[in-house]
Amino acid sequence: MRYIPLTQTEREEMLAVLGLESVEELFAEIPREMVLTDDLPLPDALSEAELIEHFRQLAAKNKDLTSVVSFMGAGAYDHLIPSAISHLVGREFLTAYTPYQAEISQGVLQTIFEYQTLIAELTGMEASNASMYDGATALAEAALMSCAVTRRDKVVLPATLHPEWREVVDLYLGSQAVEIIDLPIDTATGTLDLSGVGDIPWEEVACAVVQQPNFFGNLEQIEPVRDLVKEAKGLFVMAVDPISLGLLKSPGELGADIVVGDGQSLGNAMAFGGPSFGFFATSGRNLIRRMPGRIAGQTVDTEGRRGFVLTLQAREQHIRREKATSNICTNQALNALTASIYLSLLGKQGFLDVGRQCLQKAHYFKNRLLEIDGLSAPFSAPSFREFVIEGDVDWNGINEKLLEQGFLGGLPLDRFGYPNWVLFSVTEARTKEEMDRFTNLLRGLIT
């Protein structure tokens, strides 16, 4: 085999040391009746050249966004990705493991420390962990942590949360019998309907969650929910879009206790949905010590030099076992590293510019689409880089036709139970020419 360097002579030398005749004898302890006698039913081995050809053929069955112009978002975004990133993450970060031996893992540990600083800076929080699987699981963990910290078992969730995130949170909370209280949507504004918040038993609520901007791209008035939950000594959790954090008030400024989000848009490929990473930040000593996941901290070595280690490990499963704050072991180190490199390359001004361009282009595109007869904007709230358009047409059928013309249209929200609504996303990667061309095509398809 290509990756097994053992020669026949060496195999015999090793067997001789063991006093064995054949490798089969090493498996003598496995009950005979369960040992396989036939080959596994798998295709035969491919050479590297054959493998590459096979993958080319598979890739050819996909229409990727290198040749298709995308206006789809809803949790995965087509941002510009600087070239330097892939070259750097492919170095001696790629095949390192979790930094168990700190003395020979300072690169990984320092990048985690820098990542934590960047996330803390973006979110306005005191501390971040080393990252989670994705935004949805980070939110689920935030809700569970809130229950553990407050010793309460009710969680308030917004209807304007990404529906897949909601499903994930439902599943995590459901298995611990946590009760979920819904905040409904006001379909006039496209934000939360807060008229019923007075009826919520806030003193039993572990946390209230708000997504900002929400799933529909709209900006929520977070203050009423925040004030109610915090007055009753529950926690206020925000799920945020990191790209918006150059422009929008930081969750820290707004009084969030825990902040989570998905980091795909920070330099990571869309990758058909994964891997990306989730970020998780909080403030205050008590909450920091209850965070799930890995955390790197600064210290010194025996000669007084600055160095970094994994710290606050008594929270984690390998020490606390069934009393751990979570069962999570890994972080999404390479994806978090990607985000750090991305944020470093973009820098203070560049990151602001990305947010501004998303906002300006989304605004321009929305107005262009609204020029089309039959389309309208259902919501009045301000939005950031995503917005919903309403139209009583066959959006899925239209999208198929658009795809033939090289466009991936907005996401029809009928899949989440909202017929006639389409969610469009515009990033800095889109050009005026693309938006104009798309508008004309869509007009032709609708009228």
Partner: protein, 125 residues
């Protein structure tokens, strides 16, 4: 009022002063744990049941529950440990004390060991 120092099999010491017991971990326990980095203290006013884990002592690589030796109400905690958890290592029987529990009635301490009994017990560990 007379004081009485007793020990548990979980390597806690218990100083009984009438209906108040002060709790800490023994020298042996702190040695086993290594550098203590955090003590998760209960809140004053918490009710605890005998045998319930009511404090968590964390070291870099280990964690230990401290079990309530009696049932009662937490009336005081050693807040100094918040800033200086190393006191548990440096002075386990004195400045490293953890919490005080007020017992309803008289503390039932029949199951606890005397200093001599604990030293015997340690030989068998």
């Amino acid at each position: 009022m007379s004081e009485k120092l007793l020990f548990t099999k979980e390597h806690e010491w218990v100083l009984v002063k009438g209906d108040v017991v002060r709790v800490g971990i023994t020298d042996y326990a702190q040695e086993e744990l290594g550098d203590v980095v955090y003590v998760d203290l209960p809140e004053v006013g918490d009710r605890v049941e005998e045998g319930e884990g009511f404090v968590v002592v964390e070291s870099v690589k280990a964690v230990a529950d401290v079990y309530a030796p009696v049932s009662g109400e937490v009336i005081s905690v050693n807040e100094e440990l918040d800033e200086s958890p190393e006191l548990v290592n440096e002075s386990p029987f004195d400045r490293g004390w953890i919490a005080e529990i007020k017992v309803e009635g008289v503390a039932q301490t029949g199951d606890l060991m005397s200093k001599q009994e604990y030293e015997e017990f340690l030989k068998g560990v």
